[in-house]
């Protein structure tokens, strides 16, 4: 039980747990202490901006409230009741505005700017500064996605603290001293990495702004739609800023258990793929071998019906794992109930054994031992999970990439994470957790909703797939499936193919019928993230074509199957089966991690596979980089973030082969070889090499690296 302390703030009495920050304590008493530099998510307070000056009884000097915590009997006077504190606050605000250009009319931050708001509430009505303000060249692109206006910067150091103590990339720093201090990167290098965009939200003024949003909207012209990111399995809670039906910007929407208000640059900046040049907006029908024509929706649905009828009992659906639960369920109902075809190609394995070890991602931060297995860096597979692990390490946790069983058994709050191939949908990590008595374990799927899609498909009916001699029709659901070589191989064998895709170049030429796909930002529905958390997607932008549910519903009716065109209705039906009857509305804007009535409490994990016999050569881990995939490929300003053509290898392996960091090497396997730059990575295990999939060519299995 935490000790409560009694604090008086502006003559209001409040009891808070001992150690509560004074800013929060004041808030509990209904008193606002204005701040700029204070941001508890950035670590210890720094007391730099001096906006939060208050008077503490017994202390002759004004104190920065943000640096203090509540102690029993403390008597605090803020600017509301202390003339001295008010003078201090006025002084700070006047100083902050001395060099600020006050160009609010043309500043993208205007209207949603803490400096503007606090000046409005507390600031001087005029300026006494009659000399030259500090001027700098502006705006400076510190990366293709972020621009910096140094004249607007008030040097609160939020951005540099983020770079140093949250993302730990150490790229965004202050240069010079005193009045000449500026925020910068090293030389001309762009600020890069998975998390850079967060500084645009941390910035309390219009100094760091996303270039994509430059002059794109005023606050009174926009709406923020609370939804969930669909770019990876974390499912960060986001707001999509919409103006005139178009998504203009993605902002974080702090879910303290999932993302703590951080999002990655893919989630933030890749949304412009919605407006890609090769976006498919009309159905496309293949004519002859390689030609195609745009057809009307009526014709398209007729054609789809024809193809489906011809393949009754022999339809296979290749799923992407990016469908909403509702979409997957609707497709399943159409194909399974309507056409008696039960075969699906799921994007990845999903093991229910992990359910017994579910925990919120935020629990990672409180761990004392974190073991991350699987050889694919979390910042590539699930960036926000990487931030939680870094937070745990800063708090003193031991973070291992090899399983030290003794350490795990001795830990108070161990957490196991699997990121990479060989995880068997979570079964492997569940088996380890079971064996070692660990209570929370995570598996990082490669798709944003693989679990939801698999569950929805299974929930539709109980019939088992029959052995198929031939595939009558392959339905390729979504771009990830369309991009999958296995799906493409199956498409070669199928008698006909219907593809649902957003992008022309992915499907043109090999699908008989192409139906326009939509993005997660254009859909209503639900996703299940890697924690097993069911979260709500809200339609932020109107898709350029009817969404999947609309035409699946229409098509289903032709096979006497009832599928509603609205996500809430589909969800209601499905929820009765797998989510304990939860209503669509109850999913919630910040969804809790739920367990559902009727779900088995514990599914035993299948036994661990025999450890592979260590053979000759190096085991290749070819991974899907964060900045890859159909959406990223269509966002020009993200191209600088794409992985360099390099092979990562362990120091010892490099040494044994006489390979230096940065050297060009040949990676070969079975007669195929690729030339790459060698990067000696500290976190790599001996015997393993890592290459981004797009640079791995035909390499697989075991490879050799030579200078």
């Amino acid at each position: 039980m935490t000790d409560l302390v009694h604090v008086t703030i502006d003559e209001r009495e409040v009891h808070v747990p001992k150690g509560t920050g004074l800013v929060e304590t004041a808030l509990a008493a209904g008193v606002e202490i204005p701040v700029f530099c204070y941001e508890p998510r950035l670590g210890d307070p720094v007391g730099a901006c001096r906006m939060c000056l208050v008077e503490i009884e017994g202390n002759p000097k004004l104190q920065a409230a943000c640096t203090l915590t509540a102690t029993d009997g403390m008597v605090v006077r803020t600017a509301r009741t202390s003339g001295k504190a008010a003078d201090g606050q006025n002084a700070t605000l006047e100083f902050i505005l001395v060099n600020h250009p006050l160009d609010c009319p043309v500043c993208d931050k205007g209207g949603e700017c803490p400096l503007q708001d606090l000046t409005f509430r507390y600031g001087p009505g005029n300026t006494r500064m009659s000399f030259e303000k500090l001027t700098f060249e502006k705006p400076i692109p510190i990366s293709p996605t972020i621009s910096l206006d140094r004249e607007r910067c008030i040097l609160c150091y939020r951005c540099t603290r983020f770079s140093e103590s949250v993302s730990e990339d150490g790229q965004l720093v202050a240069r010079n001293r005193g009045a000449m201090s500026v925020i910068t990167t090293f030389e001309d290098e762009p600020y890069s990495g998975p998390f850079t965009g967060n500084v645009t939200e941390l910035c309390p003024v219009g100094a760091l702004l996303p270039t994509q949003y430059r002059f794109e909207g005023r606050p009174w012209e926009i709406q923020n739609v609370p939804t969930v990111c669909g770019m990876c399995s974390v499912g960060c809670n986001v707001n999509a800023t919409v103006r005139e039906g178009k998504v203009k910007r993605i902002l974080s929407r702090n879910h303290p258990e999932v993302d703590e208000g951080w999002i990655c640059d893919k989630g933030r900046f890749a949304f412009t793929h919605l407006r890609a040049e090769d976006r498919i907006v009309d159905p496309i029908k293949r004519i002859r071998l390689r030609g195609f024509e745009h057809v009307s929706w009526d014709d398209a649905v007729d054609e789809a019906e024809r193809l489906l009828r011809a393949a009754r009992g022999r339809v296979v659906v290749a799923l992407s794992g990016s469908e909403t639960v509702e979409q997957a369920y609707a497709l399943a109902k159409l194909v399974r109930v309507g056409l008696d075809s039960h075969e699906a190609m799921l994007p990845e394995e999903v093991s229910p054994a992990l359910d017994a070890y579910r925990a919120p991602l935020s629990s990672i931060r409180d761990a004392d031992v974190v073991v991350v297995l699987g050889d694919v860096p979390l910042e590539q597979s699930a960036p926000i999970v990487d931030l939680w692990v870094r937070a745990a390490r800063r708090a003193g946790a031991r973070v291992d990439t090899e399983l030290d069983e003794k350490a795990v058994r001795n830990a108070q709050r161990p957490v196991l994470i699997w990121s990479g191939p060989g995880g068997r949908g979570g079964a492997t990590i569940a088996a380890h957790a079971e064996r070692l008595g660990v209570k929370s374990a995570f598996y990082v799927p490669t798709t944003p909703n693989g679990r939801g899609v698999a569950d929805a498909w299974a929930a539709c009916c109980d019939d088992e797939p029959a052995d198929l001699e031939s595939v009558g029709l392959l339905i390729v659901s979504g771009d990830e499936a369309a991009n999958d070589p296995n799906v493409r191989a199956l498409a070669e064998k199928a008698e006909s193919v219907i593809a649902i895709s957003m992008f022309h170049s992915l499907v043109a030429g090999w699908a008989d019928l192409v139906l326009p796909g939509t993005s997660y930002l254009e859909r209503d529905g639900t996703y299940v993230n890697l924690e097993g958390r069911l979260q709500r997607l809200r339609r932020s932008a109107i898709p350029p074509a009817p969404d999947e549910l609309a035409w699946i519903s229409q098509l289903a009716s032709r096979f006497d199957v009832e599928v509603a065109p609205h996500a809430p209705v589909v969800f209601a039906e499905l929820s009765e089966r797998i989510y304990g009857g939860l209503s669509f509305g109850e999913v919630g804007e910040r969804a809790p991690l739920r367990t559902y009535a009727g779900a088995p409490a514990h599914v035993e994990a299948p036994p661990l596979p025999e450890p592979a016999v260590k053979g000759e050569g190096l085991r290749l881990v070819s991974y899907k980089p964060l900045f890859s995939g159909p959406a990223v490929e269509r966002v020009e300003e993200l191209q600088f973030q794409r992985p360099p053509a390099e092979v990562e290898l362990a120091r010892d392996d490099a040494k044994a082969r006489g390979i230096a960091n940065g050297q060009t090497v040949t990676v070969s396997h079975n007669g195929t070889s690729v030339q790459l730059r060698a990067r000696i990575a500290k976190d790599m295990h001996a015997g393993v090499v890592r290459i981004a999939r797009e640079h791995a060519g035909d390499l697989r299995g075991t490879v050799e690296v030579s200078a």
Partner: protein, 441 residues
């Protein structure tokens, strides 16, 4: 320059010739007090320091023994305990620590080892300003000699060189710098005694303070406490006399000598027999003294009654040729140059002060600007993260109030009434030289 000590305590044995090698320091009783201290319990050493009422010579004048007593004993914390010696002497007008390191480096080392024994520390870092090259070499040689002689015991001693930043003389900025960061002060609490270097308990003392510790033990705390102006200002100071005086130099004298005595009796008066206009007392960070205050004793209480500070023992005489606006401007330029940039009032305020003072000097200011100048000072004082902002505002405000007529004369004259005759005319300030400050595009 002159070196003189009456009595010779801190500079004892080193007034005529520097005492740089171990043998000659031992010949004047060096390291005997270390031996004695080591035969005492740590607590006993701290009690002697408390009884002596030795106070910090770096500027804050905090009781040294009490400071040491704040350090938790090693059995109460799971972390190492550090001593950090502040040899980042950069306060304008101050050169006593340099003189001490040049003349009696071993007394400093001995003081470090006694302090280490008192707080049971095994790690001593001496942070010496980067510009002190010869001083570094002499001090490092002394440490090497002591190490070779086996006197360090279990104590590790590292002489760490700064790289040119006045702010690193602020204790928490010094710790940040020593940890390999930009030397920006930390917000307190936590205080260094609890969370200092590497978040461990840390004792930070100025060079002269530490060097006085063997003296306290040698003369005995009770006798030491009788020197100077008991009970608050005990012992001697190595006063730094400079400016327009006949014999500038480092003079060790007991607390309580008057400014007049130092300037006229010890220093031989003002060069060329000119009139004295003002005195920078304690350093440039404090209000200036006017000639009518010359009989003030140099002890904390007497100075405090006049709103003045003893600081780092600086006495800089300014004769009647100096334009006080130019003086204030040059002081403000120094603090603008040295502001670390962390907190708003100091970073912005010091630049604004420079702009306002330049306007007064150029004759473009108005009556309103003079009021604003005082108001900006007021808005800096007591609002900053560390004392650097106050250090800029206090001297400037004191110039404006104590030399109000001269400031007004600038307004009336439409510029500096001294013209080229001012001794500070056109004095260039590094803040105007941004060759080393580049703003990347």
């Amino acid at each position: 320059m002159a070196i003189d000590a009456q009595p010779a305590l801190v500079l004892g044995g080193a007034v005529e010739e520097p005492l740089r090698d171990l043998a000659s320091y031992r010949a004047v009783g060096g390291y005997a007090q270390l031996e004695r201290a080591r035969s005492m319990t740590p607590q006993q050493v701290i009690e002697e320091l408390i009884a002596s009422n030795l106070r910090g010579r770096g500027g804050a004048f905090f009781p040294t023994g009490r400071k040491a007593s704040f350090i938790p004993s090693p059995d109460k914390v799971a972390k190492p305990i550090y001593i950090t010696v502040n040899a980042d002497e950069s306060e304008p007008g101050t050169f006593k620590d340099r003189e001490i390191m040049l003349r009696v480096p071993h007394r400093l080392v001995e003081g470090c080892l006694i302090a280490a024994h008192a707080i049971q520390s095994r790690f001593v870092f001496i942070y010496i300003r980067g510009e002190y090259s010869a001083e570094y070499e002499i001090l490092q040689a002394a440490v090497d000699q002591v190490r070779a002689a086996g006197l360090l015991g279990e104590v590790q001693m590292v002489v760490h060189r700064g790289a040119g930043a006045y702010i690193c003389g602020e204790e928490t900025a010094l710790l940040e710098s020593l940890e390999g960061k930009r030397g920006q002060p930390r917000s307190k609490p936590p205080f260094p005694a609890i969370e200092g270097l590497y978040a461990s308990p840390t004792l930070i003392n100025n060079v002269e303070t530490i060097t006085t510790i063997p003296v306290v033990l040698q003369v005995g705390p009770e006798e030491f406490a009788k020197i100077g102006v008991p009970p608050d200002s005990t012992g001697t100071r190595v006063f730094c006399l400079s400016g327009n005086v006949v014999r500038p130099g480092a003079y060790e004298r007991p607390h309580g000598i008057t400014v007049r005595e130092l300037i006229y009796d010890v220093g031989g008066g003002i060069t060329g027999g000119r009139d004295l206009k003002a005195v920078m007392v304690g350093g440039s960070s404090f209000p200036v003294m006017t000639p009518d205050e010359l009989d003030t004793k140099l002890d904390a209480t007497s100075l405090g009654q006049k709103g003045l500070f003893i600081g780092s023992g600086v006495i800089t005489a300014i004769d009647d040729r100096a334009c006080i606006v130019q003086f204030a401007l040059r002081v403000a330029q120094f603090y603008m140059h040295e502001s670390c940039g962390k907190c708003t009032p100091c970073r912005v305020g010091t630049r604004w002060l420079v702009q306002l003072l330049r306007a007064v000097e150029n004759g473009t200011a108005t009556e309103h600007d003079l009021e604003l100048l005082l108001d900006v000072c007021d808005r800096i004082i007591g609002k900053c993260l560390c004392v650097l902002g106050d250090s800029a505002a206090m001297p400037v405000a004191s110039c404006v109030t104590k030399f109000s007529e001269e400031f007004h004369a600038h307004l009336e004259h439409g510029g500096c009434p001294f013209g080229a005759d001012s001794s500070l005319d056109r004095l260039f300030a590094p803040v105007d030289q941004h060759a080393h400050v580049t703003v990347p595009a």
